[in-house]
Symmetry: C2
Subunit: 333 residues, 2 copies
Amino acid sequence: MARAARPGITDVAKLAGVSLSTVSRAMNGNPTVDPALAERVRAAAAQLGYTASPVARSLVLGRTQTVAVVIPDLENPTFQAILRGLSRAAAADGYHVLVADSREDLDEEHALARATRLRTDGVILCAPRMSEDELAEVLPALSPAVVVNRGPQTGTPVVGADYEAGTRQILDHLTALGHRRLVYLAGATRSVTHRARQAAIAAAVRDGDGLEVEEITAGVDFDSGTAVADRVLATGATAVIAYNDLVAMGLLSALTIRLIDVPRQLSITGFDDIPFAAYTSPPLTTAAVPAVELGAAAWTAMHAQLTADEPTPMLTLTPTLVVRGSTAIPHSA
Amino acid sequence: MARAARPGITDVAKLAGVSLSTVSRAMNGNPTVDPALAERVRAAAAQLGYTASPVARSLVLGRTQTVAVVIPDLENPTFQAILRGLSRAAAADGYHVLVADSREDLDEEHALARATRLRTDGVILCAPRMSEDELAEVLPALSPAVVVNRGPQTGTPVVGADYEAGTRQILDHLTALGHRRLVYLAGATRSVTHRARQAAIAAAVRDGDGLEVEEITAGVDFDSGTAVADRVLATGATAVIAYNDLVAMGLLSALTIRLIDVPRQLSITGFDDIPFAAYTSPPLTTAAVPAVELGAAAWTAMHAQLTADEPTPMLTLTPTLVVRGSTAIPHSA
DNA sequence: CTGTTAGCGCTTTCAT
DNA sequence: ATGAAAGCGCTAACAG
């Protein structure tokens, strides 16, 4: 028993008794085709279960209805959320999404971007790890492209969260509570978002109020948070601004073991508002980065380039401060 | 300034002074081409920055080097892990991955599977929500396909975790600790994995030992766990087997608020071992589902069908019991 | 070993 | 309004 091959446009044409062109036109809703004929064609197509081959269409039309997203790490909750927002927005516009996980590998990131671009209509670079120079060099070859959470680019739309504003909100919250001696747990020191946090902190310190912030380089994951617990305690600070929620949670966990009462003895803030930030004990006060919206915005920027009707401004979303149980007035106050 | 169009195979042929076929052969490593010529061709290609169009190749070769994964919910940590494992394994074999989020919509799931199949070489159905009949009906049209975490299928490889074995491990752990009165917090009652849990529980009860298990229908997320806290307490059970980690965490959170000491007053187990299960307080005892490995296995099963060399057995991975702080000997013991 | 030719399945001028 | 024919960019017989 030979398995029936997928019907081609020729089969439909034969069955409907018309030419290929007519089938093509009818299937694409071209108004120049006689309504009656169009109906006949559609009936024939339905009878055969015919659907035009997307691959063949891609070749002739020069577009694939697919975009690529390259992500540094599929394990990161924030990237997962961005992917989700992007994927759903793209699907709503009838586009498909190719995901590529660069696994934090610089060369892979570069190669994946170029490779996936060939089979798609554009690529979204999610928080690219490559250097500014490399990025600027590769971007033209990827066009249309969209960059997420990286500094401004000439010629490529950028969407991102305002980490400086988020940090400012955290600082305001903490100082309003009465904290003056803080620790900032830095992540990857060459990261752009780290610089943004630093800038906000520097500005706050400069503004006086007797604010002091000591910086300790930790890392970006849970374990780096636990690892610096003792150093944090040694500073005598009353509150700590963790690089992100993961670091904050790690620290929180280590402090719990040391029987340190958070927030009474020490306040802790995170960043991102990953799904589980609300479920730690105490729940984490954090700056919520609208990652799903960021993904959706990235799609909007891509779609605009693909259809060339709307403008594509550089979009910046502001994180929202979410006050939960991990912050309170300082012990000494 | 006209932007240079992407060079085609013709440009390379011209520059190298050979025919199209020779370029094609050289670029594909065909050994029948003179080494010197091949080198010249490669040089020309490099000079022009030429790469064969994947779309054109897909059309003529009949394969896209891409597979589709349809997932019920990109927000679910387990599916994220499966996607990660799958994506990385596929990438290692030079394949690309198209993701489609059906958002728990039955019709979408069906439509997405069919639509993405047209632009890929196969589709992986992740814990499909559609009925057994529908699944059996659509699967032939998707071939080659792989089904993850669903009952056995005729003609389609299935990979999945053994939820019954996982539940058995939890039961053994709890009974060994001395628990006799348990509560099982059920999730979606028509889910296949729920039935597996039920079967394991029924068998354990049947085996005697005076084990009693009361079933309470909760749900699959954090909130459903918090919602049933009082009902759980009212049963007087000494341990609860939650449908999954999310439910367990929700329950844990509600109990913490009620000042119930876990595990001293009540032991709790989860299922899945999602990333944050280790970070609750107390950390969750759970049956770890090897989701990343499941994704990798799904790829292996797909790759085998694509290359038709290896066999594709039905693969079942056994969860691992991870004993953490949320379980202990019963209070009364 | 290399070049010529015929498609892969579709869309789109260009005629009619 | 419809059909015939020319490709989209590449690979794979088929000659030589």
